[in-house]
Amino acid sequence: MSAAPALERPQVVSHAQQSLSYTVFDCKWVPRSARLLCLGSAARGTGVVQLYELRGARLELLREIEKPKPIKCGTFGATSLQQRYLATGDFDGNLHIWNLEAPEIPVYSVKGHKEIINSIDGVGGLGIGEGAPEIVTGSRDGTVKVWDPRQKDTPVANMEPVQGESKRDCWTVAFGNAYNQEERVVCAGYDNGDIKLFDLKTMSLRWETNIKNGVCSVEFDRKDINMNKLVATSLEGKFHVFDMRTQHPTKGFASVSEKAQKSTIWQVRHLPQNRDIFMTSGGSGSLHLWKYEYPAQRSKKDSEGSEMGVAGSVSLLQNVTLSTQPISSLDWSPDKKGLCVCGAFDQTVRVLIVTKLNKI
């Protein structure tokens, strides 16, 4: 293999890493800064929030905050750029919104669920998208709830199982389609392989499907546009990319699926600066960088004349193995193209730089 062509592909360069003394479940960049947050659970059963700043090739700890319950997930998605409040979901089912300058008392707090909140997402903040700021949480108690920080105690939308139905764990949630003030969509993935798309404008179930493996992570390529693509990753190393522009009345959305590795794909994250590039993180400690290519025609007519979507293809740009333990969380920096942070179950958080993304 000659060296010259190999280095034209994007390289994943390890820039800095930090060993932690707790299990890290989520890591997020603080918008408009070179700081990042690590959320997790300490050995004594309390929650930990640590704020690091990237200085040179090192991470410097700026603040450490301890909370009574372990924290599973967090998002900045629903706050404004000036406030930058962090919304977290913890192991007890509580949703809190914190002001990191004064973290003793939460700005908003509600016991949203009876069991652990597995996943959280926010929309309407950070100058992205339009409409009210909202936070969605998905929990092991089988419900998905949408909260508005201006309304206390009750969710503005609640997707719960029908009476008498046995519940399934909701493992992941994501917002999408927030291109104007009224439209909004929530996608939820469950452990029995269900993916459900809820339309918040009409308060109804818009689409559902089952991908035959528990769904670990779903993400739209952009929250603030007419929904374009949805990537859903699952157990057994598979992920599906759905083309969300054309919905067929019976067949739903077209999709292409890839089997990337033998182990669970824990997370998928799209590059904020290019919505056709995304990174998946796996249970074997590896990261794969993918590019989606659109087909020549995105929709075609089927035999009855209704529009049907056509899925494109996915190609692997690069892969790298960083750890022996699963990489459970991944976040791209919205400010610097190619900068990302990942947290793994070997109690390490790593800052990586992906090069040559301009040339794709």
Binding site: L7, H15, R32, A34, P161, R168, D169, I353
Partner: protein
């Protein structure tokens, strides 16, 4: 007998001996010449020429040239001296033999040495080649590493630059915000009837219930936030969406690779509960679910709850015909019989249930307690108080904390004491 070649001619100088040997038509090859320090032999079957030389020669440098049917030897003398003759004339047979053998041995040794020398050089060459390839590969690797390092450094520098920009941008923003804040305050003070003022009052009212105002940069953002807030839509009206899940028996997550195993397990479970003796002709009329003892048990329980004890007994009877080893069926039928005042049957059923509930483990505690209590009740209603008390005490032993059982046991004791007196 070989033919001896004797027509050789020779001449000598101080250092050299020149020998020419006509071959008489024979074809000579280099292999046919054998030469050592004191012995020279040319053997081309059937011809043979040999000479035991007068003095030792340097056989490595001596040459032989084959041309025109002659061999020309150029022999270098070891010691520059004039030889009396080419060969040792008056050598006896033995000496000649010895010399011949020595010569052969020496030749062998020389050959061996040469071979070894060759081997050694070959090895050295190999080693050298290997080292050379290794060096090349090393160089290649290093080149790639350097390229990667360069990338890394470039990227790190860019990052630093960007960070500095961020810091500067932040500073600039905060200064800018302060200026804006001053402007806004100035403006709003100046106008009383303007819309902005009204909304500010309104928003201040709501904001107090909403957030604690944050200090410094936060407070100026509150103003701009409030102005923006009237552009944000109101919170959505709350609604619920009911969800159905793809059914799954197991509480664990769905994995494709496990689906086959799970199906097999479920199948086996269903088989185990199904009737084995399906040759009862009446059973052909029944629907699939009515052949399932679990379903029948549930039906029986429902009937009992509704007060229809005879129907409940029927259900349990059918269930027991399908599977006579489920203790719960006997237990529940005993309860029905109690209600129907079929006391002997109640006793029978509770006893059967207790039999099936061996071994006595914590898991079937509650079932055993119930069995004892029911049997005890039946005995008491038959006025067999001592047997009844025995059962109640057994029940108490399993579950000492149950107040009802204690009370009933006390009552029975009193009754017994009462009748005895």
């Amino acid at each position: 007998m070989p033919l001896w070649l004797r027509e050789h001619r020779w001449r000598q100088t101080l250092t050299h001996v020149y020998l020419s040997l006509p071959l008489r038509g024979a074809r000579a090859t280099p292999g046919s010449i054998f030469c050592s320090e004191r012995y020279l032999k040319v053997s081309i079957p059937p011809f043979l020429f040999e000479a035991v030389l007068y003095a030792p020669i340097d056989d490595t440098n001596s040459t032989a040239r084959i041309e025109n049917g002659n061999i020309f030897f150029t022999l270098y003398k070891k010691e520059p001296a004039m030889w009396d003759s080419l060969t040792l004339e008056n050598a006896d047979k033995e000496k000649l033999q010895n010399l011949r053998e020595n010569a052969v041995l020496k030749a062998h040794e020389k050959a061996k040495e040469e071979r070894e020398a060759k081997k050694v050089t070959k090895e050295e060459h190999k080693k050298y080649a290997l080292e050379a390839t290794m060096k090349l590969e090393e160089a290649e690797r290093k080149r790639i590493e350097d390229l990667k390092e360069k990338e890394r450094q470039k990227v790190t520098e860019e990052l630093e630059l960007w960070r500095k920009q961020q810091k500067d941008a932040d500073k600039y923003k905060s200064i800018h915000k302060e200026q804006e804040l001053h402007q806004e305050i100035g403006q709003s003070k100046g106008r009383k009837n303007e819309k902005m003022n009204k909304t500010r009052i309104l928003n201040e009212g709501t904001s107090q219930t909403r957030l604690k105002p944050t200090k410094g940069r936060g407070s100026c953002s509150m103003f701009s936030q409030n102005l923006k807030e009237e552009q944000l839509p109101a919170p959505r009206s709350a609604a619920t969406i009911k969800v159905n899940f793809t059914p799954r028996v197991f509480p664990t997550a769905l994995r494709e690779s496990r689906v086959a195993e799970e199906e097999e397990w479920l199948h086996k479970q269903a088989e185990a509960r199904r009737t084995i003796s399906a040759d009862l002709s009446e059973l052909e009329d029944l629907k699939e679910e009515e052949k399932n003892p679990d379903w029948l048990k549930d039906k029986g329980n429902k009937m009992f709850a509704m007060g229809n004890y005879l129907a409940a007994v029927n259900a349990f009877n059918l269930a027991l015909r399908l599977n006579k080893n489920l203790p719960l069926l006997y237990l529940n039928r005993a309860a029905c019989h109690l209600k129907l005042r079929n006391l002997h049957k109640a006793i029978e059923d509770s006893s059967k249930a207790l039999e099936l509930l061996t071994p006595p483990v914590p898991d079937n505690e509650s079932a055993r307690v119930k069995a004892h209590v029911r049997r005890g009740t039946a005995f008491c209603q038959l006025e067999l108080y001592t047997e009844g008390l025995q059962d109640y005490e057994a029940a108490l032993k399993i579950d000492p904390k149950n107040r009802n059982i204690e009370k009933d046991a006390e009552k029975i004791r009193h009754l017994i004491q009462g009748t005895m007196e």
